[in-house]
């Protein structure tokens, strides 16, 4: 079956639906004083399906997981975050999380669409015919989606913390989950993100160890650094060193760093051999 639009058309449609979810959620919150709930969830779900179609078309065209440039990386990260939200949000009935997710997804996808240069130029076939390295990349970017959701729950934690400390509990603050639930969710998301990224790095390391492999050293360093930071944060939280507000702020910084690192892990940047080619030895 052939879909009627190009991949970018579907992705524009997805971004529009995420934006509609955000606007609809804003109207519900600020005009009616309650989260939109089901309506926001439905718009995000439709956006998710449109994005899935767009990424699917792109994947079919390039013959692999669409992670070949900055545009695709940001799109895939947003898609990963939405995937998790659709599971977590429905399970925990976190209607306000949907609002924040719609905000984040619409921002990331629209920004990536508004810069055509991110999706221009020669596209590198990064995976060759190696499914393991494709798995590595997909898992790594998916973990960034987990960190995106972690950032949102951390933001909600800070808002809840502010409302409790400043004793302002009315209005839309009343729709935030409890501070303990948000804290638990943050720990679980961080653990999940760190585990997925750690596994992705391990899969990649097997590939990087091969003598014929050409790797981007900067990318390796940045990815390992993000994974290391995630594990360190988790360790500090579990040992009771980094707690509550400071933990939430650290999670936000982790996500910001992960998002910025996507620029450096963009495929095709500074690819250098992992070790000298056999002929040069």
């Amino acid at each position: 079956m052939t879909l009627p639009f190009t991949d970018r058309t579907w992705l524009w449609l997805a971004a529009g639906l995420y934006l509609a979810g955000f606007i609809q959620g804003s109207i519900a919150l600020f005009k009616r004083g309650r989260p939109a709930g089901g309506a926001t969830y439905a718009l995000i779900l439709l956006g998710y399906l449109a994005q899935l179609a767009g990424l699917g078309l792109r994947g079919r065209a390039v013959g692999s997981c669409p992670l070949g440039n900055a545009f695709e990386l940001y799109q895939f990260t947003a898609w990963s975050a939405i995937t998790l939200y659709l599971v977590v949000g429905a399970t925990f009935r976190l209607s306000l999380l949907g609002y924040f997710t719609a905000c984040l997804a619409s921002t990331v996808t629209l920004v990536s669409l508004l810069f055509p240069s991110w999706d221009a130029g020669p596209r590198v076939r990064i995976f060759g015919h190696n499914p393991w390295i494709e798995l590595h990349a997909a898992l790594a970017v998916f973990s960034y989606g987990v960190f995106a959701l972690l950032a949102l729950t951390s933001l909600m934690f800070l808002l809840r913390h502010f409302s409790l400390k400043s004793k302002r509990l009315g209005g839309w603050f009343s729709f935030l989950p409890s501070i303990r639930d948000l804290d638990h969710m943050g720990v679980r998301l961080l653990a999940a993100g760190a585990a997925i990224l750690g596994f992705a790095v391990a899969v990649g390391a097997v590939h990087w160890a091969r003598p014929e492999t050409v790797v981007n050293l900067e990318k390796v360093v940045v990815t390992v650094a993000v994974a290391g930071a995630a594990f360190l944060l988790l360790l500090l939280r579990l040992r009771g060193v980094l707690l509550a507000r400071r933990f939430a702020v650290a999670c936000l910084i982790l996500y910001a760093a992960a998002l910025l690192s996507l620029v450096t892990v963009e495929p095709g940047r500074g690819r250098v051999p992992a070790r000298p080619a056999p002929a040069a030895r």
């Binding site: 004083g33 309650r34 809840r160 409302s163 409790l164 400390k165 004793k167 509990l169 009315g170 009343s174 935030l176 989950p177 409890s178 501070i179 303990r180 639930d181 804290d183 009771g240 707690l243 509550a244 507000r245 400071r246």
Partner: protein, 366 residues
């Protein structure tokens, strides 16, 4: 055209003081006896008696204009209450206005504590009893069932039930915003007075895991602990065992601080990842106010709780207009459906559900 009409007469907390409501209140046996009496009243085709601590109301379908008066008269005779005095307090609403009142009562819009949900259950019981006794017919059956649906709609489409309006319930609601569920929350009550007891009971009713009572008089603590199904703790152990608790309710009459900052800091050092909710209901205050700045410590005093309760009350008030609009729309639609049955021979005029609609209506003060 027939003189048939739907009516509600009675007395409510709006214009009837508590000492009068006490004289008007009916117990279960009294209600049953009155129902039997009313069932024999000529011209009263259907009726339901609603008796709560805040209202006594008679909903009925009458064949003529004198019937509602006769219902009021029968009630006054039974209660040995002067009918002329009853007329001073009485509400008397007809047709669509009566239906609007029915929806508003079911939705909690007419309650003393705006938006409370207990009245919904009380109305259901009153209706079920009337139905079982064969006092209701097609009009009241439809009216009550539709009123229950409309009441649910009012509750879901407005915020009249959100936010607690009593200090004890505000404290419990706050605990929910900190801990989520209370099923694993351990509560320490310091002080065995009435205020603390009320708050502790509110926590217990919401399923708190355990309650421990400590008072400067151990025997009083043990007495209250026994009454509440809780355990007692020697007062002097309050600081050393503070880390074991998630919620601490302080309501002593001690003239000085009984939970100093150092004790709270020491407790938090032993449980840094678990939030501690401190409720200071005492005056003078029991808890060192500087602990409010500690990480994972949430301190609320009496003023804070009272202010939140007042804000919630104001927010509910602001929603009543929206609720009454929904109730009015539903009442109008319902009246269109039952008017023909009420009027007997043919559909009567549609009366706008305004407070002045009743023939001898005495508008309730809002």
């Amino acid at each position: 055209m027939s003189n048939g009409h739907l009516f509600v007469i009675g007395a409510t907390h709006h214009r009837t003081p508590i000492e009068v409501r006490e004289r008007l209140s009916l117990d279960a046996d009294g209600t049953k006896a009155l129902r039997d009496q009313l069932a024999a009243l000529p011209g009263l085709r259907e009726f339901t008696v609603l008796s709560t601590c805040n209202r006594i109301e008679f909903y009925g379908v009458a064949a003529g204009p004198e019937v509602a008066e006769q219902v009021g008269g029968a009630f006054c005779r039974r209660q040995n209450f002067d009918p002329a005095e009853f007329a001073r307090f009485r509400i008397d609403l007809r047709d669509a206005a009566a239906l609007q009142h029915l929806v508003e009562v079911a939705a909690g819009l007419d309650s003393q504590m705006l938006g409370e949900t207990e009245i919904f259950g009380q109305m259901k019981q009153a209706y079920a009893a009337a139905q079982a006794a064969g006092n209701t017919g097609p009009v009241l059956n439809r009216a009550f069932q539709k009123a229950f649906q409309a009441a649910k709609q009012v509750r879901t489409q407005t915020a009249i039930t959100t936010g607690q309006v009593s200090v004890a319930n505000v404290a419990v609601e706050l605990a929910g915003t900190i801990f989520g569920g209370l099923s694993d929350a351990r509560i320490l009550l310091l002080g065995a007075g009435e205020i603390g007891e009320k708050t502790a009971k509110a926590f217990q009713s919401r399923g708190a895991a355990s309650l421990t009572v400590a008072s400067r008089r151990l025997e009083r603590a043990m007495e209250l602990a026994t009454a509440l199904g809780a355990s007692a703790l020697p007062f002097e152990q309050r600081e050393s065992r503070l880390a074991e608790f998630d919620i601490v309710v302080c309501a002593t009459s001690a003239p000085e601080i009984i939970l100093p900052g150092a004790a709270v800091r020491a407790a938090m050092a032993r449980r840094p990842a678990r939030p501690l909710f401190l409720i200071d209901q005492a005056l003078p205050r029991d808890i060192d106010p500087t602990v409010a700045g500690l990480e994972n410590v949430f301190l609320y005093n009496l003023d804070d709780l009272a202010r939140i309760a007042e804000e919630n009350r104001a927010a509910r008030e602001a929603e009543t207009l929206k609720g009454r609009t929904i109730a009015g729309d539903k009442a109008r639609a319902l009246w269109q459906q039952v008017a023909a049955q009420v009027n007997g021979a043919g559909a009567g005029p549609t009366v706008e559900p305004s407070r002045s609609a009743g023939a001898a209506s005495v508008p309730e003060s809002r």
